[in-house]
Symmetry: C2
Subunit: 522 residues, 2 copies
């Protein structure tokens, strides 16, 4: 008897079924990556008159993708594989997780009636148009009816897709699989007072950073060369990606070897492009670190928005706003921009990048106050989904929270409740992932510093490979075979905690504002 004949027949059939399920998932992902390219092109290149046709193209491809995702034959395969892999046998844990996640996705898609998908899509298109007009005219009443409808439809979606979960949890699960609002709220409730304390201490400090040295004219093409060099230096692979220009910077993956970054430019203020590119390149390094051979499978996909944001924030803030980074970067910046940083030191540039300034607008917020903006939105959207808060009462609730957390009151709805597109676009349960990203980033960085004693030295010498390699091994290569919580716990060997973010912020922002180390929370 040959060794191979010892494999039972059922296993060979299971293997074949698994191969079919994988091939089906990959085909769907290839088509979905076409949708991603349509979206990328729309943001970056599309001629102004071509918008309506692009919407038709997206709808046509989306319909094909939806057909693939809800294919009953794939559902049967996955149900059968779920039974076959349930008790382990010769299936690896990654294969078990793959089947589990593909089946979970399949069920989620199948549970969503086509009618509801179309209604949500329509409501969100209307919502975004209403939002743009409401924002332009600062007239909340133009958005309110759309938003009411969107929240109602998203509650319906939650009930269809995940009837076992609390509605907000079901929505959050789309962006941060496995996360539950109760735990997130606990984390945020521990974080908030300590961030508020840091903000107040910074804000009332007589010694505040001055970012004057960052305001210099640097021509766009000169900035372009510089930021490409920096992105390449931290490890972003331009043979597997691009850098282009768009109004709102983003990172989009259109294939396993095609992850594209965009940025915007301010010729008077270098940090706009430099930190925009560090942020998007952080997203890009994660995407480029996912195993390409698992493209289209859970093992080849990002696990959550929170982990994605942790990667972008890590490079943007924990590397880019650190002293070692500027020890390496400043001489390069001096060469690239003759005369601009002549009288600066790494310490001076880093400090200029650490100004804390409470303000009304999230997207312009500094690293510290940003989290307060996020937590306000998280609380408000939870109340809206629960029904504790009505859309009609949202503007007043918004203004009240800004008064309480920031001591600032939006003078108009455009500078308040109308500033973000998310809710009008149906992105409910999305906001908390920004601060989860900051929390994860700080914890991952703390663990990397622990594991790599020469990390600061490496960064100061422009050697970013040790950090990237650590992230590749601990985070990127797992795809979404672990959810964000498990991933962070396993990568760092520590329970998820806000402590590392608070430490990181105090360690950098405290001295920059002349605060005594003794003020930092224990």
């Amino acid at each position: 008897m040959q060794p191979h004949a010892a494999v039972p027949h059922s296993s060979a059939a299971g293997r074949s079924l698994y191969a079919e399920a994988v091939a089906h998932a990959r085909r769907g992902a290839v088509l979905s990556s076409v949708e991603a390219l349509l979206g990328w092109d729309e943001q970056v290149l599309l001629p102004t008159a071509a918008g309506p046709h692009r919407a038709e193209q997206v709808a046509a491809v989306a319909a094909v993708v939806h057909g693939s995702r809800t294919d009953p034959a794939q559902g049967e395969r996955l149900e059968e594989l779920s039974r076959l892999t349930a008790d382990g046998g010769d299936w690896t844990t990654d294969e078990q997780a793959t089947v589990h996640l593909l089946l979970r996705d399949h069920r989620k898609h199948v549970r969503l009636p086509a009618r509801l998908v179309a209604e949500i899509a329509g409501a969100c298109i209307d919502g975004q148009q209403a939002w743009a007009e409401a924002r332009r005219t600062s007239d909340w009443s133009l958005l309110a009816p759309s938003l009411k409808r969107i929240f109602a439809l998203k509650r319906e979606q939650a009930a269809c897709q995940n009837p076992d979960l609390d509605p907000y949890d079901a929505l959050l699960d789309d962006y941060e699989p496995g996360a539950r609002a109760g735990e997130v709220a606990g984390l945020f409730d521990r974080l908030r007072p300590k961030i508020v304390a840091l903000v107040r201490a910074c804000d009332s400090s007589p010694s505040r950073p001055d970012d004057g040295i960052l305001h210099h004219h640097v021509p766009r093409d000169v900035q372009d060369r510089f930021v490409r060099d920096v992105a390449g230096r931290i490890g972003y692979d331009f043979t597997r990606g691009r850098l282009d220009t768009s109004t709102h910077p983003f990172c989009s993956t259109t294939g396993p070897h095609d992850c594209r970054l965009t940025t915007r430019w301010d010729e008077q203020f270098l940090p706009t492009a430099l930190f925009g590119v560090l942020h998007e390149a952080g997203h890009g390094l994660y995407e480029q670190g996912l195993p390409p051979e698992s493209f289209g499978l859970p093992g080849g996909e990002a696990t959550s928005l929170g982990i994605h944001e942790s990667q972008s924030r890590l490079w943007e803030n924990l590397v880019g706003r650190s002293l070692p980074f500027w020890e390496w970067c400043l001489p390069h910046a001096r060469t690239a921009f003759p005369g601009v940083f002549a009288a600066s030191s790494p310490e001076i540039v880093q400090r200029a990048l650490l100004a804390v300034q409470p303000s009304l607008i999230r997207v312009e917020a500094d690293e510290v106050t940003y989290n307060l903006h996020v937590m306000i939105r998280f609380d408000l959207e939870r109340s809206l989904v629960r029904g504790d808060l009505s859309v009609a009462d949202l503007p007043a609730a918004w203004d009240e929270r800004y008064e309480r957390d920031f001591g600032l009151r939006p003078p108009t709805p455009t500078e308040g409740v109308l500033q973000d597109i998310h809710w009008s676009a149906g992105l409910i349960g999305y906001f908390p992932t920004y601060t989860l990203g900051n929390v994860f980033a700080a914890q991952l960085m703390a663990a990397a510093e622990r594991d790599l004693p020469s990390l600061a030295e490496d960064i100061a010498a422009g050697r970013f490979a040790s950090l990237l390699e650590w992230l590749r091994l601990r985070v990127h290569r797992h795809g979404r075979l672990r959810d964000s919580g498990a991933l962070v716990v396993e990568a760092t060997g520590m329970p998820v905690s806000e402590q590392w973010l608070l430490e990181s912020l105090w360690r950098r922002y405290g001295p920059a504002h002349g605060l005594a180390a003794s003020l930092a929370p224990g």
Copy 2:
């Protein structure tokens, strides 16, 4: 009895069937336009490592498009509509033609076995790779086996798709619907000796144009602004298109309001970009002139490659190499490129653009000799398809024809039979459309000059709208509801003839080479 009740029931049912067929065709065209975007992006932007995934994306969308094109339900609709519309009734001739052409396309697609489609696709991918390597090493034997296979498969395609036609005619029909090789050969046979005579007269003239004044350093960004201005001035609408950079300039339509041009740049030689853009913008003006409301239907599609090329050549050569054009353009060029054309006149610049130089390479050929390159390829590919010439004997036949028509012998296959990618890419029956384009362009321009007595004056004043409007009305707006021959006859009121091309060439190239008008053919 109400008037509306007089419409027989069958007509209402027919109308509804027609609407369904149209909607189906449009859905297929939307998906096909996604394929076009994938191709455009591949040529212009794709990161180097992303090629294999792009091939998967194209294959996935192509499979969906193929499914739509061969959908039996659409076939049944079209067969029924073909019967319903056959005897006119309340169907317009455009509707009849639409049904006829949609059905013809459907049958062509259905007749092609999926196995053959896949084999041709595979053979052409291999062929192009073999061509690149053969060309690099100037080793014909590396390409010969692939080419033999491609010609065999294309003959098989011809027999499947159009069993009633001669095989070469069937292939030609894909690019130039309605054209037949016998007629094309007749036209070319009348054209060839007269072009050869003009080339010899120019080549042996003691007074030949000198293009020295065109060789100046002009930075790329300065050229970029200038050529965009020119493209916009002749009528290309940048709200419905773009201009980008690629190795091989092309024009690609990715939607009814999205027709994109590319060019390449030579900082030492302005005509590379300027005439490249005039050529591609000519294609673009045609695409932008197709009725957008007929997108996806024959009424909204280009009728043939020959007509397409007629539009690009008309703007590139018949406008761009004319004296009136330079009367308008030169002052603008002087402003855009300070110092470059200081000592020139419109006559001097135009003459510099009219140098005739027999050479071995088609893509570098001047407007006159270009047609000789095309006619050689047409004769050779016809012989190959007929089987009169074997792939093994092709290099010798190629060299012999160059010797005969040009008095030049390629020193290596790379400068001879290996120079073009077309055959290796399965494009057989494509070459003659280049010269058909020149013939159509000259005849259309002659008719436009006849119909618009102030055309030269308009062009000299930078008023291109009269010519564009003439082309819109006579050519663009018909889509492919008329084939190229019928379109040219109807647009010009004259039978298709080579006479206009010969006249146009002699009128410009004769004086530029100091040839007596009496030498021109009657």
